[in-house]
Amino acid sequence: MKEISELDFPEDLYYTEEHEWARVTDGNVTIGISDYAQDQLGDVVFVEMPASGDQFKKGDAFGTVESVKAVSELYMPIDGEVIRVNQTLEDAPELLNQSPYADGWILEIKPGDASQLETILNRDAYLKMLKES
């Protein structure tokens, strides 16, 4: 596992305490897991994702990500309806390790209330949380 200083946390994202990230693009929100999360998990072997159209509330578990010897639940950063899932992860779950913020995105949602993003962490707050834990 890497030191926190060796990991990457883009400025323009929102983060959750459970290590998901959220990015706003054209009014929709893309969701994935942070570099820290993928590093902690190790080689990701499987991602269980919801279907398009599924509705979730902020904090709901929407799927799981599995490494060889661990399973983590994925939690919704904000309310929303799933409009797209990253199908390529079914055959290439390693994208979560290789490119957590780009090719390894998990979901795109239509937010129920985008202002909820302001209630979760920005990069600095997330880094602070990681360093303190």
């Binding site: 080689d43 072997v45 499987f46 599995e66 490494s67 060889v68 010897k69 390693e94």
Partner: protein
């Protein structure tokens, strides 16, 4: 010790069965076709399976060579913690295959199976004696099914009192089977943390025990190899709120005939005949997981039960409060035979001696290794002790690296990364059947491994070197599952 064994040239390559297929060969002596062929509808007939054809010596060599890639208790010391890999007596194997047992049909009229029923009835009594519980069912097929039986018993008992509860207390040191078994009964596990001494405190239990909690699942001795000294007080707290105490007896080998489970407040306990009572593990079963109960739970035991009437043994389902049936027939009788033979060979004093020596071996090993391995709970242990890789972390050497390197010295590694409460856990259970010399050899091998960890860490990361294969790619196996050829 540090000198490697010379390669022997006996490690044969062996293909998969179907890579040796030659249609027309057979390894089976086909009985005579002494009746006419009966008509068969075409639309019912299938193609039959795509199995390879081999001859008899082909089958023998295939499995003989595969067996040579395996390590068993008969090969060497196998100190897997919480698995009790003791010697499996050979006479027990022989008697379990006696024709009058092995070829016996389970639905024969009882008068035709009196010997087998008597064996089961006596084994029930022996196990009740050894644990000091009141009644026993031999039906559960393995430890986890014994746990399920225990949960079902508690569920049924509470229901008979008109009580429905939704939670069960499970300590952080528990086997994963405990929460999984409880969940099958609809109970939500409530985690309770072990205290500083590695055992549960009455205070921690009283904090979570309430009137919506069905009881507690407690492993005693626990998976840190420590006796839950507060069991009686914990049982009092749980009983005080109307709950029941389930004891996971996976670690019974430490205390055969030495603990009065009933007086300790235990209501139901499961045993593993394939651990404590010497039946071999078979590379993953079959086992047997009998449940022993206090009197108030006896009416709920699984059916059928063995009853005696006028000196004749019968099977009876006439227990209206029973949790029902758990097994297709009576449980794993073939495994029961071995446990029965073991108990008859050992006697009460012999079993107690076995537990004493199991505990002595573990404590000796703990003393000898604690200078080179971190011992999180430095206290007298029961039948196993738990170390960690904390001393090796500076070299970035992990428990896994040390476990793999031990293989090169001819030892099966201990249980690793369990219990979860110890980071990088190394859980060692030598059992009573290992001699002082063998334990000394193991200790020396482990000391060499820890020395190598600081002097030549890459040697450990590249181990094992002397097995059939090097470290296997588990990520590839899980990402692109290939479960059949």
């Amino acid at each position: 010790m540090s000198k490697p064994l010379a390669p022997t040239g006996l490690n044969m390559n062996e293909p998969l069965l179907w890579e040796m297929d030659k249609p027309g060969r057979t390894a089976f002596s086909m009985p005579r076709h002494d009746v006419p062929s009966a008509p068969l509808h075409d639309d019912l007939a299938g193609d039959g399976p795509d199995f390879p054809d081999l001859n008899e010596m082909g089958v023998i060599r295939h499995y003989t060579r595969l067996s040579q890639w395996n390590f068993g208790v008969d090969t060497g010391m196998y100190p897997l913690g919480s698995c009790t890999m003791k010697y499996n007596p050979k006479i027990n194997e022989k008697v379990s295959r006696l024709k009058g047992f092995a070829a016996l049909h389970p639905m024969l009229p009882a008068l035709m199976t009196q010997g087998a029923l008597r064996l089961m009835a006596e084994l029930e009594r022996f196990l009740a004696e050894i644990t000091a519980m009141d009644a026993v069912s031999l039906q559960p097929a393995a430890g986890a099914q014994g746990e399920l039986a225990g949960m079902l018993l508690i569920h049924a008992y509470l229901k008979s009192l008109g009580v429905k509860r939704s939670k069960i207390i499970i300590p952080d040191t528990a086997h994963g089977t405990n929460p999984a078994s409880a969940a099958l009964c609809g109970y939500r596990p409530v985690r309770v943390t072990s205290g500083e001494k590695g055992i549960l405190t009455p205070h921690a239990v009283s904090e979570v025990m309430d009137e919506d909690t069905a009881g507690i699942m407690i492993t005693n001795p626990n998976t840190l190899g420590l006796f839950e000294e507060n069991i009686k007080e914990i049982a009092r707290i749980v009983h005080g709120k109307g709950g029941q105490v389930y004891c996971d007896g996976a670690n019974m080998n430490a205390v055969m005939g030495m603990v009065h489970m009933g007086n300790s407040g235990v209501d139901v306990l499961h045993l593993n005949l394939h651990k404590t009572f010497s039946a071999p593990h078979g590379g993953g079963g079959p086992g047997a997981g009998p449940v022993c109960v206090a009197n108030h739970l006896a009416p709920f035991l699984p059916v059928p039960r063995i009853v005696v009437k006028d000196g004749v043994y019968h099977l009876s389902e006439a227990f209206p409060q029973s949790v029902g049936r758990l097994h297709s027939f009576l449980g794993n009788f073939g495994v029961m035979i071995k446990a029965y033979a073991y108990i008859l060979s050992m006697g009460a004093e012999g079993l107690k001696k076995a537990s004493q020596l199991a505990v002595l071996n573990a404590n000796y090993l703990k003393e000898k290794l604690k200078t080179v391995l971190h011992l999180p709970y430095d206290r007298p242990c029961m039948h196993e002790c738990v170390f960690s890789d904390k001393f090796q972390r500076d070299q970035k050497i992990t428990t896994l690296d040390m476990a793999k390197r031990l293989m090169d010295f001819g030892f099966h590694p201990p249980t690793i990364y369990f219990p979860l409460v110890v980071d990088g856990a190394i859980m060692i259970e030598p059992t009573e059947t290992e001699s002082l010399e063998e334990i000394d050899r193991f200790v020396e091998a482990f000391r060499i491994v820890t020395r190598e960890a600081s002097e030549s860490p890459d040697l450990l990361r590249g181990s094992p070197k002397r097995c059939r294969v090097a470290r296997l790619d588990e990520t590839l196996a899980a990402r692109r599952p290939c479960l059949m050829g």
